[in-house]
Amino acid sequence: MSQSYNRGLVEDFGRWKEFSAGMWAWIFHKFTGWVLVGYLFTHIAVLSTAIPAQQGEMVTNSAGEQVDVYTNTLTLLESTFVVRLLEVGLLAVAVFHILNGIRLLLVDLGIGLESQDKTFYASLVLTGAIVIASVPTFMAGIGGA
């Protein structure tokens, strides 16, 4: 159970050419994990505008109307192209993390030990497919669509 292997530091990126599929899976999972925690903190910060909004703080939006800060902040963010792009990125990151995570849970349970490479590639392909299929929805309402 608690054997450990010294694989050297994977973060020595000079070694990337030696990486196997499992190593990439591990790196991607780690990277997407970091992005998601980072997002979570930002997300709560943005949603926190609900507090002044709930207390009645109003601002004037670009159309000159009075709206509460929460609605204004979210609408403004969502109307920004870069934010939309980042959201597609976030979706990709989240979907991969979820699918690869399911794979890891199954592996922990001893399921699919023999086909780890294949299931990793499957997670990648599925992530790509789901993300591409979602682009229209994520970009909806921007640039005239």
Partner: protein, 109 residues
Amino acid sequence: MWLLQRVTAAFLVVVLAFHFFLLHFYHHAFEITLMGTQTRMQDVGYFATMWLFLVTATFHGVNGVYNALVNQGISGTPKTAVKAILGLAGLLLVAQGTRVALYMNGFLA
């Protein structure tokens, strides 16, 4: 901790997928308004789900970062410091998230 990390993972798979579907496909993200959020958060089941989401996501994320750093080989004082800082950050996030959620559902005003 090992088990808790897997249990929260299994829960988050479902809730995170639900969250994306609800706020991008069912409601459009660009149409989110204070009123819409209030209506959703006033539903006890939705509120409970979101709050559990907050707590499990924070634990899973913060514990994940900690594990990554331990894997990197930190030990001794840096390890203790990281543990304290991450623990504090997690607690603050949950506290702020809870406060926000309670404003959203109108409990605090």
